[in-house]
Structure formats: structure tokens, C-alpha cells
């Protein structure tokens, strides 16, 4: 023990480089595909080439006789396995039996029909071609509006109308609002199907250890604990006999916030063959068999006064469900309804959702999950209204914002917005982009018949998902912080970071709380045998909910450290600072290492205190958080080709307090890239027969580095009162803010031609057709 002057370095708020990156960028990280085991077998899944067909017969014999093949399983063999779960309960929900392998029918291209297991993956692939399936091809329907039409083929014969669910929500008095309106604008707006396209496709290694009655399941997932609970249930295993490990996960974007047939199927196969088995999804399978996102057709009506005051919003939302419900499918459009009013002060809404079965792969959560669709809708409608009233799109927004004196603000959809100053980011973005000057330039260019547009999107979002009563599986998050006898710190988080950088940000939080260095801290996640039960990473929740659990566990631990420190210092007045406990009276101190050693050696214990330094907290958030921001996009359009060039991209995001600006930049950039993807390039297109015509990266246009504009990323800061860190979440902000800003910009450019709306993606041909039609 010594008297010391304590020097402390803090980490929160600094641009700390991600500690996970060295292993990622040097190719030394361990993904599912990198897992090798003695006796590993390989599975290849035979999938339906048809969108709808009856299976008359399956002959697996030629495949079973093929070299290296151990066995082939079909739907008959897996009848004892539970169905793929839908985690959403709704009154009118129709839930088809989603067996892990097709039995008598197939419902979409890519539907798993049989699995071949071989000693070598090439032999498994060869053998899959030898399985003879006799299909009676049936009429299919791939478009949700066509599926709703009379006489459309029934995706599931027991429900001829193809309606998967309906949902209605009213807020305020919508009829009165529309009756009192000076003006009503209407628009059909499509949010096209997108492929989430994580760089790492899905993959599973299942290892049944018969002697231990233990199934180890390595899977590329965002939710290892939920996968354990649900897959153990499907397989009829006791949950404590199953261990789920999410090794390095190479991106998810919501597509791995799910429980998939293949996870249970590999578990089934491994228990049958008593050997480990590996299945790695091909890119082609990733296109056709991993969930898609979006898939909305929205019919909006907005009622307003002549001065631009929005009185009410009506939405008829047609959600393309696909052939089945995956884990959260029916929930996603409900998130859209929650976000319907955006950040505007209107208390009158009416929403009617109809979920529609189609012969396509199911839709589910994709970055933003319902919120980009809703934001695209309201932000487009505000511009449509502004055009109708000949108002400036910035002015109409300022007029309708919920003002900052109104927080917490109860929305017509039942949310309580935590904090906000919506005008601030818009003012800042307008300044940054030089709005007034740009409008003058635009007027000049219009005289020369040149097309330049300025698009504004002022978005809000629902993050930090969320309070448990409002989530399907509990919305809390867990953390354990423990200090070893030698004083090193380990954080076990129930979240499952897969690119979001919490190995760095959680260490920053702990380093500041304990006064230790980042290198003294290890963050572990993604192993149900190591980490206490947790919910996972999605919905911009990991830092706001999981980080808060870490924060509270640290508070408990600090109290205990101080007790031990006080005992060692024989003081009743101590402070924990800079990794030391200091006697406030004498200035004497003891280090964390000394305290840790003493706590485990336990020669003496403080009153009512157990040995060891460990604390676990399960934090239940009292509310969501509600980040917001303003994105402004300036575009120039080639009048001859329709090609769009983004001249400026200004993003002002308010995500509350920022723990690591470098990581926030990365999240904004990535989100904007995917938002641009939807706005300009990406579309999952099924033809009338239900074949995915954009099923390869040669046809599905992902955003590429060389296509990215320079993103001018800025912030305002309105801390959230919901959690002690004051953070709101930023993982989805870019996707949510981006697409309407781009479309508003292009529509603004073409406004002199009378254009009010264009659906995404804004391909050059679409723009050219608009130009050609108007000239």
C-alpha cells in the first residue's frame, strides 16, 4: 500500500481503433467454416427448383449408393423434429407448418427437400444431383398484390385468399382529421424486396457427443441463446444439453436474427450419424433461402391544412410474407406502423396491414426492419405534400416537427419518444450543405434544363429494442463482469456483436469505470456454455441495452471492490480511481490487483461480503430509445442517360452520447451504403413463376466501394434519459435516413417535369423513361 497521485486515462468518447479488427483483417478469425473436427462429415441440401409443386415421390437410392455418401434424409425422416418457429403471437395469425424438410409440397424455390451427408463436400454435392424427385408443378404467385387478387393460386391450399395476417391500428380521430383537411395527398410507395447479403453466408457445424448426451451447435447467428432454447425444443433435447456457439460472425444485418431449418437439421443429422457434420450455405442458397428484407407495397394518404400542418396519416400496408413465417416475420410491418408518424406532431393515424403469402423465401428483419419502410413512406409523403402545397420541403418539416419542449412525447402509435430536438440536425444539415445557395443554383440550372435535386430526409427511429412486454422474447440484456485473482477483467455479454465493435466499446466503458487500461479487459460473447443467458444483437440494442447491463454490473463490482479496498486500507471513506482504491483521509491506496488477490484468497472478508469479484446484471430497459437526424442528398441527373450522380451526402445523426466516434462513423457509413443500395441498385426480383431472377451477384447490384459518394457525417447530441450511458443506438440510422433523402433528391430534380414519385431502385432506365415521357 502506498500513497500515490493517481493519473487516469479515459476512453469513452475517443476514436479508439477496434480491438477486433486485427484478427478480422489478417484473416485469422475463426468462422463456422474454419472449424475442423476429426470425423467431420459434410451436408449438402437438395432444394426445390420450383416455387410451387407437389412432391409425388423421392428416390434417394442412387444418391445413397454414390461414393462417400453416408446417408440421405428426407422429410419423412425428420417428421419427429419440431417446426421452424415463428416467435410472434397475433390474434389472426395463420401459421403454416414449417417443417425443416419439405414433406408433400414445396412452397418456394430453394425449399429444402433432402439432405445428403458424405465424407467429403464435393461428393455430397455430386450425390445431391442423383436424388430423383418427381414434382407435379403447380401454379405459383410471387407478387403480393397479385396474390391478393381473386383467382390467384393459393400458396397454402388451406387458405385460398393468401392472407397470412391482418392488423389494424387507429390513433386519435382519423376521420375527423381527414374531414377537416384542406388537402389530401395520396401515393402508392413500394419498398422492394432486398437480400441482406452478409459477407459470411450462414453455416452450421453440429457435433453430437453421445457419451455426454450433449449437442454442440456452431452457427453463424446474432442470437445464440435463443437458438439454443428454440432448436433444443425442435430436437426434443434438454436445453442444458445443448451448447450454441456463434464463432466469428461475418455480418448479419438481421438475416441471422432467426432460427433456421438448417440449424435443427444439422443437429438432427449429427445425432443420427453420431459424427460432427458441417453445412456451409452457398451464395446461391444465401440468395434463395436466407430471409429477405422489406417487401412492402404501401398506400399512403396524408391530410393537411393549407399551411402545411399535417392532420393525419392513413396507411394500407401490404407485406410480402413469402411462403412461411420465420422468427419475426409478422412483427416487421408492425414496427412500420409504430414509426408511421415519423418525427411529426400528428395524433391521428390509421393503419391496416395485410400480410400476404407468396411463393417466395420469407421476409423478416433486415437492417432497420420495418423502420426504413415507414421512414421512406412518411418522408416521401411529406415531400409529396410540400409539392402539392408548393412549400419548401425544409419549411414543411420545421412546421410539423415535435418541438423539443414536448418530450417525453406520446405518439399516436403508442410510443413514448424519450428525448429529441428535431430541428437541430436539420438546421445543421441545411447549413452544411449550403441550402439557400443550392436552391439558387438549382433555379439557374433549371433554366438550362439541367436536373439537379436537393433531397431532405428527417428521420426518427426506434432503437435499443426494447422493453420486454413489447418484444417477442424478452428485451432485456445481460452482462457479467469478473476480475481474476491477478486483477484482469473479463466481460461476458449476452449480446452477440458481429461487426458492431462492442469488444471495443464495452471495454471502453469498463476501463473508465474501473480505471484500468483497455488491454486489461477481455470481452467474450457468443457461447452459451460460457456466457449467461442473453438476447443478442439486433435492433440497435447492443450498446444501449447490453452496454447498460455492463455498466450496472460494473457498479455492483465497484461497490464490492471498494469494500475490499476499505478493508485492506482499514478505512471507511474510500474512492475507486485509476485502478486503485484510495483512502480519502490518508491518501493511502491499494491496487485492483491487491484487492483481487485478497478477495479470492479470502483470509479476511468485509462484513456481509462473499469472496471473489464477479457481478452479473440483467437490465430491463424502461423504454426504447429514439435517435433521429437529417440527411440531405444533392444529385445531378444526366438528362440523356438518366444516370444519377450524388454530388453531396450530408448526414447529421443524433444518436445520443457517442462512446466511440470511429465506430459510429463506421455504422453510419455502412448504413448509408445499404440505404443507397436500396435507393439506387438493389432488388430481389421474382418472375411470375417464382424464380429469383436476381439470384447471383452478377445480377443483384450490391453497393460497391467505387460507387460510394463521400459521406459528410456530422452529429448533434441529445442524450437519452432511458439509460445511464445516454446512448441511443446508431446501427440502423444510415439505412433509415438514406433512401428517402436520395429519392426526394431525384424527384426534386425532376419536379419541373411534374414528377411526384418514383419507386426504388432508381435505375437509370427508370429515370430515362420519366425524362423521355415528359419531353
Amino acid at each position: 500500500m502506498a500513497t500515490t497521485t493517481v493519473k487516469t486515462e479515459t476512453f469513452v468518447g475517443k476514436r479508439i481503433r477496434r480491438r477486433e479488427d486485427p484478427r478480422l483483417i489478417t484473416g485469422t478469425a475463426t468462422y463456422v467454416e474454419d472449424i475442423q473436427m476429426p470425423g467431420m462429415h459434410y451436408a449438402m441440401i437438395l432444394r426445390s427448383p420450383h416455387a410451387a409443386a407437389r412432391i409425388r415421390s423421392i428416390n434417394t437410392k442412387p444418391a445413397e449408393a454414390a461414393p462417400g455418401v453416408v446417408c440421405v434424409f428426407t422429410g419423412k425422416d425428420t417428421k419427429g423434429v419440431g417446426v421452424v418457429p415463428c416467435g410472434v403471437a397475433m390474434p389472426d395469425l395463420r401459421v403454416p407448418q414449417h417443417t425443416i424438410l419439405a414433406t408433400d409440397r414445396v412452397y418456394f424455390v430453394g425449399h429444402p427437400v433432402a439432405v445428403v451427408v458424405a465424407r467429403d463436400r464435393y461428393l455430397a454435392r455430386d450425390a445431391a444431383d442423383l436424388i430423383e424427385v418427381d414434382y407435379e408443378v403447380l401454379p405459383a404467385v410471387a407478387d403480393p398484390e397479385k396474390a391478393l387478387a381473386k383467382g390467384a393460386p393459393a400458396v397454402h391450399p388451406q387458405w385460398p385468399d393468401n392472407i397470412a395476417f391482418t392488423y389494424h391500428q387507429d390513433g386519435g380521430n382519423i376521420d375527423k382529421a381527414f374531414a377537416e383537411a384542406d388537402v389530401v395527398v395520396k401515393q402508392r410507395i413500394v419498398s422492394q424486396r432486398l437480400v441482406p447479403m452478409a459477407m459470411e453466408t450462414r453455416g452450421v457445424v453440429a457435433e453430437w457427443r453421445g457419451a455426454d448426451r450433449q449437442l454442440n451447435l456452431y452457427t453463424s447467428t446474432q442470437i445464440p441463446h435463443l437458438v439454443r432454447t428454440l432448436v433444443a425444443g425442435m430436437l426434443g433435447l434438454e436445453e442444458n444439453r445443448m451448447r450454441v456457439i456463434a464463432p466469428e460472425v461475418g455480418g448479419g444485418f438481421g438475416s441471422k436474427l432467426n432460427v433456421y431449418a438448417e440449424e435443427a437439421l444439422m443437429g438432427f443429422v449429427s445425432t443420427r450419424i453420431q459424427k460432427p457434420v458441417k453445412w456451409i450455405e452457398s451464395r446461391r442458397e444465401n440468395f434463395t433461402c436466407t430471409i429477405h428484407g422489406r417487401g412492402h407495397v404501401d398506400y399512403y394518404e396524408v391530410a393537411a391544412k393549407r399551411d402545411g400542418t399535417i392532420l393525419g396519416i392513413k396507411l394500407k400496408l401490404i407485406q410480402d410474407v413469402g411462403a412461411y413465417h420465420q422468427l419475426l416475420t409478422p412483427l416487421i410491418p408492425q414496427l412500420s406502423v409504430l414509426m408511421m408518424p415519423g418525427i411529426y406532431n400528428t395524433q391521428n393515424i390509421r393503419a391496416d396491414i395485410v400480410g400476404v403469402f407468396t411463393n417466395c423465401v420469407p421476409t423478416d428483419a433486415y437492417r432497420g426492419a420495418g423502420r426504413p419502410e415507414a421512414t421512406h413512406g412518411i418522408e416521401r409523403m411529406v415531400d409529396v405534400l410540400a409539392a402539392e402545397l408548393k412549400m419548401d420541403p425544409a419549411e414543411i418539416r420545421f412546421k410539423n416537427f415535435v418541438t423539443k419542449d414536448k418530450f417525453p412525447y406520446a405518439t399516436a402509435t403508442g410510443l413514448m419518444y424519450d428525448s429529441g430536438d428535431y430541428a437541430a440536425p436539420l438546421r445543421k444539415a441545411l447549413d452544411l450543405v449550403g441550402y439557400v445557395k443550392l436552391r439558387l443554383e438549382q433555379a439557374d440550372l433549371r433554366k438550362q434544363r439541367k436536373y439537379m435535386g436537393i433531397g431532405i430526409s428527417t428521420y426518427g427511429e426506434i432503437c435499443a429494442i426494447g422493453p420486454s412486454p413489447a418484444t417477442p422474447a424478452g428485451g432485456w440484456e445481460s452482462a457479467t463482469v469478473k476480475i481474476d485473482p491477478t486483477g484482469k477483467v473479463t466481460i461476458l455479454t449476452g449480446t452477440c456483436p458481429h461487426g458492431q465493435g462492442e469488444e471495443t466499446t464495452f471495454a471502453q466503458i469498463a476501463a473508465d469505470e474501473l480505471g484500468v487500461g483497455l488491454d486489461d479487459i477481455l470481452v467474450i460473447r457468443g457461447d452459451t456454455a460460457v456466457v449467461q443467458y442473453g438476447i443478442g444483437t439486433f435492433g440497435s440494442r447492443a450498446t444501449a441495452v447490453g452496454g447498460t447491463a455492463v455498466y450496472y454490473a460494473l457498479q455492483d463490482l465497484k461497490a464490492k471492490i471498494k469494500k475490499f479496498g476499505a478493508m485492506l486500507l482499514e478505512s471507511d471513506d474510500v474512492t475507486l480511481i485509476g485502478g486503485q482504491v484510495v483512502d480519502n483521509k490518508t491518501g493511502k491506496s491499494t491496487t485492483l490487483q491487491e484487492i483481487a488477490r485478497a478477495s479470492y484468497r479470502a483470509l479476511k472478508l468485509p462484513p456481509n461480503t462473499e469472496p471473489g469479484l464477479i457481478a452479473t446484471r440483467f437490465w430491463e430497459p424502461p423504454n426504447f430509445t429514439f435517435p433521429f437526424g437529417a440527411h440531405i442528398v444533392v444529385t445531378d441527373i444526366d438528362g440523356e442517360t438518366g444516370q444519377i450522380k450524388i454530388r453531396r451526402y450530408v448526414a447529421v445523426d443524433d444518436c445520443g452520447n457517442i462512446l466511440n466516434p470511429l465506430i459510429v462513423d463506421g455504422q453510419v457509413h455502412g448504413g448509408v451504403a445499404q440505404g443507397l443500395g436500396q435507393a439506387l441498385w438493389e432488388q430481389a426480383v421474382y418472375d411470375d413463376d417464382g424464380q429469383l431472377t436476381t439470384g447471383e451477384l452478377m445480377d443483384y447490384a450490391l453497393p460497391r466501394a467505387h460507387l460510394m459518394p463521400w459521406i459528410e457525417s456530422h452529429h448533434t447530441c441529445t442524450p437519452s434519459p432511458v439509460n445511464p450511458l445516454g446512448v441511443k443506438g446508431v446501427g440502423e440510422a444510415g439505412t433509415i435516413g438514406c433512401s428517402p433523402a436520395v429519392v426526394n433528391s431525384v424527384v426534386d430534380a425532376l419536379a419541373p417535369l411534374g414528377v411526384r414519385h418514383i419507386d426504388m431502385p432508381l435505375t437509370p432506365e427508370k429515370i430515362w423513361k420519366v425524362l423521355a415521357a415528359k419531353h
Binding site: 463436400r121 464435393y122 454435392r125 455430386d126 452457398s282 451464395r283 446461391r284 440523356e640 442517360t641 444516370q643 439506387l680 441498385w681 426480383v685 431472377t693 436476381t694 447471383e696 451477384l697 452478377m698 445480377d699 443483384y700 447490384a701 450490391l702 460497391r704 467505387h706 460507387l707 435505375t763 437509370p764 432506365e765 430515362w768 423513361k769 423521355a772
Partner: protein, 284 residues
Amino acid sequence: MFAQKFEYTAPKTLDEALHLLANGAKPLAGGMSLIPMMKLRLAAPEHLVDLRALKDLNYIREAGGQLHIGATASHYDIESSALLRQKCPLLTETAAAIGDVQVRNLGTIGGSVAHADPAADYPAALQALEAKFVLRSEKSERTLSAADLFVDALTTALQPGEILSEVIVPIDDTRTGTSYLKMAQPASGFAIVGVAARVRQNAGKISFVRIGVTGLSNRAYRATAAEKALEGKTGSAADIQSAAALVARGVDANSDLHASADYRKHLAVVHAARALKTALSRIA
């Protein structure tokens, strides 16, 4: 995405390669198209002969007043060749417009030309350059023009056992200007439409025009009607416009998810006009 079983040979000499090819093996010259097709099992060659291992097919040199490019010169080799930049800038400009960095590092001119993708970039430039192609097999060697080489979509005049060993392009004088312009398909990077223009001016008049078009139809072609329309003119905006208007006339244009036939034709006209204008502006 697992290819069927195949044999792979990386021979040290061209003779060895030609011998293997004469016995049914298929050439691999970068694999930017072939490997994905094999992984999707749209192609299943039993034996691949990797030509990229052959040192004697990778060269770019000047001889006899022409430029000789070995078949396995990568797009990056061509893009970064100082010799080509000086003496055939159309080819470096075209190579730089291909795909992305990874594709340009691995893909070769021979592989691209022999594959004859109707949306590949090189064929437009090679049509405009009136390139010659040396075709070799174990027993023969012959030279074909671009007009004779490109037969149809994914089809050339190459016979089984025969490989494209060399591309020969002319060296233009300083009164010649060139340009390659394309609209890229955003997913694949291939040309929705690409136009290569090569023009020569003499005493204020355009004395020579070559226009190569790719992406529009089943194969790259020379837009001869447009060439003729511009020859002898001064090259005014109106001259260019009326010549460009002819590039797609009578062409059976491709139509797919990325561009309809009408749009492709329109783009061909726009890109032709712009490429001609740029080419003219580059005349020293």
C-alpha cells in the same frame, strides 16, 4: 457452389498446352467467367489447362509497326502498360473500365476475347481498332480479323483445340483520337452498352472513323453506317449527332432486367456521340 471433379494442368510450355488442348482439355486463362460457371455447374470441363502459367503468352511489345499482346496479359497489365498508354490508349482506357480491381488482376485479354461475352468491354475497342487475332493449335496457326472472330454470343471462330495466342493492334498516328465509354451494369460491371470510337482528322475533315459497339446485341460489332456518315465531315455537333443516330439502327438489341432493348439502343446513340466527341477532342 462446388464444381464437378476436373483435372488441372499448368503446363510450362505452349506446345505442351496445345498438345493437351488437342486431346480435349479446355483452356483456363484467368477464370473470371469460367470458374463461376463451373461452380454453378453450368460448365463441367473434365480437364483444365491453365494458360496463365505460360510465360511465353504474357507480353506486350511493339514489332513491325504494330502492337502485339500475348493472350495472358491481364487487364491490369494492359491498363498499366506505358507502351500501350502511349501507342494505343484506347486499349488501356478500355482495360481500366473492366469489372473491378480483382477482376483486372486475374482476368486476361485472351480469356475475355475467347469467351466472347456480348457485354465484354474489349471487343468494342478491338472492333474499332480492327485488331487481328492469332489462333494456334497443335497443328496450325492462323490470323483472323475481329469481324471474323466474333460470331455470336459466347461464340467465336475458335475451333476445338485452338487457342487465341495473340492480339495485334495498330499504332495510330497523332492525328488519331480514341475513346471508350460505357454504362456499366452495376452488379456485374459488364457494359450495358459500351462504345469505342477511333477517329482521324486531315485538314479539318474527318478522314477515318471506326466505331465498335458492345453490349447492345449478341456480339460486338462495327457501326459501319455511322462511320461512313461521319467520314468527310468536319465533326460538328450536328455531324456527330446524325452519325451516332445510326449506330443502333437495324440492330436486334438485347433486353434484360438491367436495360430494355429501347434503352440500350438509346444509350448506344448517346455513348457513340459522346465517345466520338471525346475522341475528336483528343486529337493532338
